[in-house]
């Protein structure tokens, strides 16, 4: 197996990339001087993948199955748990399921290859029985209930539900107690066969790693005869506008929470084009809603928002949005003011010095990613799945033109594509005037 090297000399960082004969894409991010090593092994399979196509047969999957599968893979045939095996070496292991990815990971200070062995082994050897599936339904049922109580989680999914008509990103990642009751061992095996095939997966390792040695372990566990090719992502032809402009829910919170998001109109782009779009959006969010922006400082001064105010943007291949959030006793007022503000800024040229400062903020933020092996692994696997070279980040930031930013501003922040999600307190508190 051959590796190719990409470098950023100014940052003194590099990435090695190679494709294993099984189809598995392998990345090594060399890091010296750190105590820890990190490995993350992921499949391009998440909650948005709802139709399984296996040998011409189409199966509708129950909501939450990708997440369920993630939990279940840790269990092994000998009655043990992969967690216990990692524990013996002192590694700390975990996994997560997002909209479009499921990933298994560990960090350790010693015995990196032994841990890599455990990781590759357990992910490639599923073991499901009626009994262990039934038990997991209880555990995940608790997890779902915990999220039902979590105001931030509800705020987020309510926004997505308002934002999207069809895109499955609006469905809760863990599913519902009802939907996961339909999960069976057979279905789980089928999902593994399809989505956990080597070409649909990626291994990212961060640290002072010997590539040759790592490949030996890959050879041992990743079989070449399991390959079914990278699974095509379905484009869902989501309408441009949002399904619902305002979504409300009452929960036990002290003050209303709001999340206001702008839906991305373009679907299915990746690579440098996607990275450029992410960067343009991040610069704009910084200029428009950063801590020194007139929007933030004015509304803060009026007491409409507080220190909890934040901004975010998440642009991926199959979905995307930018958002502002926080606590406010008058969320509709914040919403109205934000829309007015955007109408106003769209009519004027962007403030050049504000753009320059925003670019510096992004460059500083990018540098921070390299401070942690975990952060690097997690950020980079996401970039790689989107066919992005993360080492190009700073250069692209510096080269974004004023005109491009203006175009993005006018195109993205559209009232018709905006959803406001509000979590309201259960009862009117007398202090909220």
């Amino acid at each position: 197996m051959r590796f190719e090297k990409t470098e950023n000399k100014f940052l003194n960082e590099s990435v090695l990339f190679g494709v294993h004969e099984s189809g598995l894409r392998v990345y090594i991010v060399p890091k010296k001087g750190f105590s820890k090593y990190y490995a993350i092994y992921g499949t391009e399979y998440g909650s948005v993948d709802r139709v399984l196509n296996l040998d011409g047969e189409e199966v509708m999957l129950p909501d939450g199955i990708a997440h369920f599968l993630e939990h279940k893979l840790f269990e092994e045939e000998d009655g043990k748990n992969a967690f216990d095996k990692f524990a013996l070496t002192g590694a700390s292991s975990n996994a997560f399921t997002s909209f479009d990815m499921t990933a298994y990971l560990f960090s350790c200070t010693d015995s990196f290859y032994e841990n890599l062995d455990i990781l590759l082994e357990f992910v490639n050897n599923p073991y499901f029985t009626d009994e262990n599936v039934a038990k997991e339904q209880g555990i995940i049922g608790q997890e779902i209930k915990m999220y039902d109580d979590d105001p931030d989680w509800r705020l987020f999914f309510n926004m997505l539900q308002g934002m999207y008509h069809k895109n499955p990103v609006k469905t809760d990642i863990a599913g519902t107690v009802e939907s996961i009751s339909h999960i069976t061992p057979e279905l789980l095996y089928k999902c593994c066969e399809a989505y956990y095939n080597p070409s649909n997966m990626m291994l990212v390792m961060v640290g002072d790693i010997d590539a040759k040695k790592a490949v030996e372990y890959i050879n041992r566990h990743v079989k070449t005869d399991k390959d079914r090719g990278r699974i095509e992502k379905t484009v869902c032809a989501e309408p441009r506008t949002v399904a619902q402009k305002i979504v409300r829910q009452k929960l036990s919170v002290s003050k209303p929470l709001f999340l206001m998001g702008f839906k991305e109109k373009e679907e299915g782009i990746d690579g440098e084009k996607l990275l450029l779009k992410q960067i343009k959006t991040d610069i704009l969010m910084e200029v428009l809603f950063g801590k020194s922006s007139s929007f933030f400082t004015e509304l803060y001064g009026e007491g409409l928002i507080d220190g909890s105010f934040g901004k975010d943007s998440e642009l991926e291949r199959s979905y995307g949005f930018s958002s502002i959030s926080g606590e406010s006793s008058k969320p509709e007022e914040v919403y109205k003011r934000a829309l007015e503000y955007l109408t106003e800024v769209k009519e004027k040229p962007l403030d050049k010095s504000a753009v320059d400062v925003a670019k510096r903020v992004l460059i500083g933020r990018n540098l921070r990613r390299f401070n942690s092996v975990e952060r690097l692994g997690n950020d980079f696997i996401r970039s790689f799945m989107n066919n992005i070279n993360p080492l190009e980040y700073s250069e692209i930031v510096e080269n974004v033109s004023h005109q491009e930013l203006g175009e993005r501003l006018r195109e993205h922040f559209d009232e018709e594509c905006c959803t406001l999600s509000i979590i309201e307190p259960l009862e009117e508190s007398e202090n909220d005037k």
Binding site: A87, G90, I139, S252, S254, N371
Partner: protein
């Protein structure tokens, strides 16, 4: 990693942590004051008021803009609870000069100095509008604690366990105490902190040490006059003869319930027994392979999360679990059963070895984060314990089975707090 300490003025220490493996540096200032009802609400307001503006950058927008210009330096302040003491920490994280085309470390030192020591004042008081607005924000924040049920349960458990003790104070303060605070008495409070509190300044990362030292001496060294350090001795959570366990149940509208249990440990923070407790805690409930995780969650499905944590400064252990209301007693029984097993030595040598390795990974995490490393050294400075992360690990590796059993037997249940989730119409 190299550390060094200088006393730049009596009661004002400058500590260096030098390492070149990160792309950012950290500069922090800590003021140490007693944890008590009189201090908490005022202290919690200080970070909020400071960020509103300084003499040179009189508005929040100008202050933020200055930090943004310096490659998005994050500058801010917060409050930490360390035993029976309270720390006000102001800190700046910023990119190291090696990765940008200019030198910013002096500008950062100057900005942090502005932020901490030159707040906007008028006639010997803070700005009235700022203080009033931040009182309102603080009030909302304190009330907002209820939004996070897990944290809320922990705070309530703490209040009940340490009622009448300084440690029972909520470090973010009290709504009812906000009313008596105004721009004048808050400024007097802060002036007193600045003039009398023990100060620790940390400079961590990769930079020209002499230049940083000179800059700190010129700014902070000049402004912070010599002081006698007035440290408060922490009253440890000690073993009580014939203890009556405090049991409190409260209801809340939620689908899940939270269980918190507090235990007295009564172990001096500087004693070697602490290392045995760290290993014990790891096997019992402080790791993903712990007895609590494997039995309470995995085997019996009694909780979605369950973990224990040991607080070395105050010497207590707290268990937190997310459970279904109907499974409270089963979860409670199992938690105590597992503790009894630990007390009886019912754990394997593999579990000890795993715990030690796990702690090694944890220490690796500390060494791989500048903020965590600084935190490690600051906590040690507070406890008057002189140890590096590697020295900590050496002590951990020496812990024996007998010492772990002895540590387990120090745990004495003091408080059981149950936040019972009920549906909306039941309340």
């Amino acid at each position: 990693m190299k550390t060094d300490v200088y006393e730049i003025s009596k009661g004002v220490k400058l500590r260096f942590i030098e390492t070149d493996k990160f792309k950012t540096n950290v500069l922090s200032v800590y003021f140490c004051l007693p944890l008590c009802r009189e201090n908490v609400t005022c202290a919690a307001l200080i970070p909020r008021v400071l960020k509103r503006g300084s003499v040179k950058y009189p508005t929040m927008a100008q202050l933020s803009r200055r930090a943004e210009e310096l490659y998005g330096a994050s500058i801010g302040a917060d409050i930490l609870k360390e035993g029976d003491e309270l720390l006000i920490r102001a800190s700046a994280q910023f990119v190291s000069d090696s990765f940008i085309t200019e030198t910013i470390i002096k500008d950062i030192a100057e900005l942090l100095y502005e932020f901490v020591l030159c707040p906007i004042t008028k006639d010997g008081a803070f700005d009235k509008t700022y203080v009033e607005q931040e009182k309102e924000n603080a009030k909302n924040f304190i009330k907002g604690l209820i939004n996070d049920k897990k944290e809320y349960a922990q705070v309530r458990c703490n209040e009940i366990m340490f009622e009448g003790d300084p440690y029972g104070n909520f470090s973010y303060g009290y709504v009812e105490d906000l009313e008596c605070i105004d721009e004048k008495n808050l400024y007097d409070f802060y002036k007193d902190v600045i003039e009398t509190a023990e100060v620790n300044i940390f400079a961590s990362g990769c930079f020209d040490k002499d230049a940083v030292k000179a800059e700190i001496e010129k700014t902070f060294g000049k402004a912070l006059s010599p002081r006698d350090s007035k440290r408060t001795r922490t009253n440890l959570a000690a073993f009580e003869e014939s203890i009556k366990v405090k049991e409190v149940t409260e209801e809340i509208t939620a689908s899940q319930s939270k269980l918190c249990m507090g235990f007295n440990c009564g172990i001096e923070p500087a004693s070697d027994e602490c290392y045995a407790v760290a290993v014990f805690s790891c096997i019992y409930g402080g790791s993903p392979f712990s007895k609590l995780f494997n039995n309470v969650r995995e085997k019996l499905s009694l909780a979605y999360y369950v973990f224990s944590a040991f607080n070395r400064q105050k010497s207590f252990m707290r268990i937190s679990a997310g459970v279904e209301a109907g499974k409270f007693s089963a979860a409670y029984d199992e938690i105590l059963l597992q503790l009894d097993m630990m007390k009886n030595g019912d754990f394997s040598d593999d579990e000890i070895a795993s715990a030690k390795k796990y702690l090694k990974t944890q220490v690796g995490s500390i060494k791989d984060s500048l903020v965590a490393t600084e935190d490690f050294y600051m906590t040690r400075a507070m406890m008057l314990v002189d140890e590096s992360p590697d020295e900590f690990l050496e002590k951990i590796n020496k812990v024996s089975r007998e010492e772990i059993i002895a540590a387990a037997n120090k745990m004495q249940l003091d408080t059981v707090y149950f936040l019972k989730g009920v549906s909306g119409d039941e309340i």
